[in-house]
Symmetry: C2
Subunit: 239 residues, 2 copies
């Protein structure tokens, strides 16, 4: 019997229309799956409904994979694949496995030589990088920086050092309710000629992607409220 695949499904980031951010082919792959691994069942059901998924939701098996899941339990989620069925991994928003808990199940699939099929969708990180004008030949995503003031300062100086020494653009994110403080910390810490890009509400109608030298953000930031808006921060050096 032909084995199934583990298919990685991106999900729209916010309330935007699905055909703005997802290829139509993704829907055809959705229809091949009766089993989904999801971060939260409630939001996964809502996504499937919006995507026009045609199978009655009571005929679908959902497995949760999130911070409450023991990774020793998750291997069995892939069992349908041995019987020739596809299993879908759905993210909550954006791309599965990128700043997202899905990578643990993909690692198990790789160990079992299961075919993994990643589908195209919105990545707030790469959309921000494309539109920033900063170096896209060398870049790093660093997740969340430390919250503690002195450790955060040290982390920012370390990343800025890589920006100038390696010409490597550095990306990071912050808990949305601390975004304004993060921009303030960047302004207080970085060299005046380091470029800072603030990419807020990516793919939403309210999207803002703005790159300025640190020196200009000291005043510009006062006109921008990032509080509770999903934001990617990028720092870089001129091309």
């Amino acid at each position: 019997m032909k084995k199934g695949k583990l298919i990685l499904f991106p999900v729209a980031i916010g309330g935007e229309l699905l055909d703005a951010v997802l290829p139509t082919e993704n829907k055809r792959w959705l229809e091949t799956c009766h089993t989904f691994i999801v971060e939260e069942i409630r939001t996964a059901r809502r996504f499937l409904k919006r995507a026009g998924y045609p199978i009655p939701i009571d005929d679908v098996a959902f497995f949760e994979l999130n911070e409450h899941t023991s990774t020793s339990d998750i291997g069995s989620y892939l069992d349908p694949i041995a019987d020739g069925n596809n299993v879908g991994l759905l993210s909550e928003a954006g791309l599965p496995c990128i700043a997202d808990p899905g990578a643990a199940i993909v690692a198990i699939a790789q160990q079992r030589a299961i075919e993994v099929l990643p589908l195209v969708g919105p990545s707030s990180l790469l959309l921000a990088l494309m539109a920033s004008g900063l170096n896209g030949q060398s870049f790093a995503f660093n997740g969340y920086l430390p919250v503690d003031r002195s450790r955060r300062y040290a982390a920012l100086r370390h990343l800025e050092d890589r920006v100038w020494r390696e010409h490597q653009t550095q990306l990071f994110i912050e808990a949305p309710y601390r975004n304004n403080q993060m921009l303030e910390a960047l302004c207080a810490t970085l060299r005046s000629d380091t470029l800072i890009c603030v990419a807020c509400d990516i793919t939403l109608p309210s999207q803002i992607i703005r790159t300025l030298p640190c020196s200009q953000w000291k005043t510009e930031r006062l006109a921008l409220n990032l509080h509770k808006h999903n934001t990617v921060f990028l720092i870089g050096s001129p091309q």
Copy 2:
């Protein structure tokens, strides 16, 4: 008058169907542009034709941006935006500005406070990372590594050090005709327990994405021919 935007259009990576990798909304944005900045006019025309772009190609202005372009010439490419017109930036394959020359024109747009709209499309880097099972909370793309044998060895040891010390997945690419030698160099250089992902022909029917410890690649690589197939290499540590 309302100003136009600089719109960043991804392009399919290989010969795959456009609706497999591009949202339908991208086509609606294409139709708003009569001016395109492209790496090569011939392939850009072909892409527009395949995408069903409805404007007669002789009514469209193309500006080239590639390794032969002087960056002092390119600022004028954005002049239509001041008159309220959108300008499109087309990549050759995948996402504009990511491992691609487009970032120079986006940097100028940012300096002029022009709105930059990045659209969703296929990124071989992130598709490979998603399907690798390697850490997607911290990762870096390093472009091409040095070709010289001893400098390449040093670069690989440096990247492997970041893998284990920072748990940061490291991505890089190689000229397609040197891919087999690159995998051989990885096998000869890295620790036996460092994970290597080889992601070949991303989005094409021939796609292969396989993660194994270095020790296993020493034999597995003999069954895989990467010569002239676009390949992303990733190295990482277990989750």
